[in-house]
Amino acid sequence: MTWVGLQMLRNDRAKFAAMIVAVSLAVFLMQNQAAILATMLSMTAAQIRDVKDADLWVTQPEVECFDQVRSLRDIELLRVRGVPGVAWAAPLVKIDAIGRSDGGRLNTVTMLGIDDASLVGLPHRMRVGQADAIRERDTAVIDPGGHELFFPGEPFRPGRSIRIRDRRIRIVGVSDAAAPFTGLPLLHTSRSTAAALSLGEAHLTSFILAKATPGSRPAEVCRRIDALGGLRARTTEGFARDAMRFYGSQGVPMLFMVTIGIGLVVGAAITGQTFLMFIKENARPLSMLKVVGTTDRQLGRMILLQGALVLGLGSCFGSAIAAAVCDLVRTQPFLRSLYLPWEIALGTCGALASVTGLALYASFRHVRALEPATVFR
């Protein structure tokens, strides 16, 4: 009998299509907004997670995210190096400054000064050039978004430079660094070059990157560093989570959740309403089926399968559109970090299925209450 149910659904093409479109659009809207939210939050931690070779981050105690910089005294690096369980520690400098391209384009840039000796924090993937070329003084590698801002529409060409604080910084490559939350161009350079760009601050080090010795638990090493006083150590993932929590508490996620909620409610309402209408308009055929001996259980299975087909097809179409849009948008250098986690895809489809399930249940109750004798009238 489930086959009969599917044929009935297929026969009412207008409602079948309307339900699939409603589910598809709702799934697309929810997945798209959830993906943007997830991407934005992950971008707040992108520069932290991009550092693959260290597993500890040490900052001033009050620092909550990568974009909050409070310099550390140089002595702190030595203190951290002296903590049992620390294999090595290296400084990382973060400077925001104004850059100007040869073509006259002006942008605020974020410069990351990497320890000259160890190159800890160097981009681990490059699109063009070699990352370790920054060992040479007054050179840097730029991220794709930054390159697009300073040299829009142009391919990378060696020898170009950006003027920062009256120094000409030569661009030696394009990194594949994750897009920063701030949207500013990201330049990786050596600590010595960054120091030359400083405005005479007493302390340059923004973060200390460290590695736990083999066999030491990073969380335990963090506690030891914290115990030194005046410092706060976190694992890479812990610092990333803190950064996401910090930005997540600013209210932006609420705006996205409202849109996601609207998508859920509207999608479920249209789908549920159309499905209920489909069932009500088919009251007479369904009554006939009851007269000829179709049980409520069989009719329930029919409705369940009809609903599952609509939700399945709609979810597939919606997810495919969301994934395609995501892929399309990612071709833009500034939006290259946009991603659609499978958890979001599954969660949104599940949420819609749960809410639409209520409409299916209402439809089933309607069918169960149908008086089969009405078919004689």
Binding site: M1, W3, V4, Q7, M8, R10, N11, D12, R284, P285, M288, L289, K290, V291, V292, G293, T294, T295, Q298, E371, P372, A373, V375, F376, R377
Partner: protein
Amino acid sequence: MVSDDPTAVRCTDIRRHFGEGEARVEVLCGVDHSVRRGELSFLVGPSGCGKTTLISVIAGLLEPTSGAVSLFGRNLGTMPPDERVLFRREHLGFVFQQYNLLQALTAAENAAVPLLAAGMRRLEAVDRARALLDRLGLGSRTGAYPRQLSGGQQQRVALARALVHEPRLVICDEPTAALDHATGEAVMELLATAAVHPDRAVLVVTHDSRVYHFADVIAHMDDGRIVRTEAGPSSPVPTSPFPSTAPA
């Protein structure tokens, strides 16, 4: 299991009302009626006299307020609802005034619906339905959808649906009401030849007097009672075994 009782349908003092208080309407007022196996029995009467309510009660689709209905010796009133549905699925076939074919299914698929409801595999059910449609003269139209069929053809598909599972009782509600005279005559001819069987009873509700000559027995109904039962023109049976409950 059904018994060997020669009476297919036995209604005893069936009463049924709708509504309560001032809105209460007595639709069936103590109906005694029976239909024998092998009999083509007509239930006739003016609109609103309770014919449809009576066949709904006989089919187990409506509970009587009081009284008993037994089909082939089985008392419907003592059956649990689920069992009644299964009994109806196995032993009853229905022909409706408006055909009630599923627009999404072909003629053969429509005719196969009772078999599908009984759990038969689709291909096997449709094959059986196709064979029956062939016997009913619709062999060339088994793949047609209802919208592609004339009224008479649709009623023949409905007849096939009523007979495909070889039920013991076929209940027809105004089977010719939506058809012109010639088509109605043809459908009744088909009903009389295809549905009537020594082991099967056919109960037809109609007020189309032009088809009365097909009846073995005609029960006249008025104001919720069987007022007269008479042998039809084609009857080998002289009278109904039940006396009329008509007031003197």
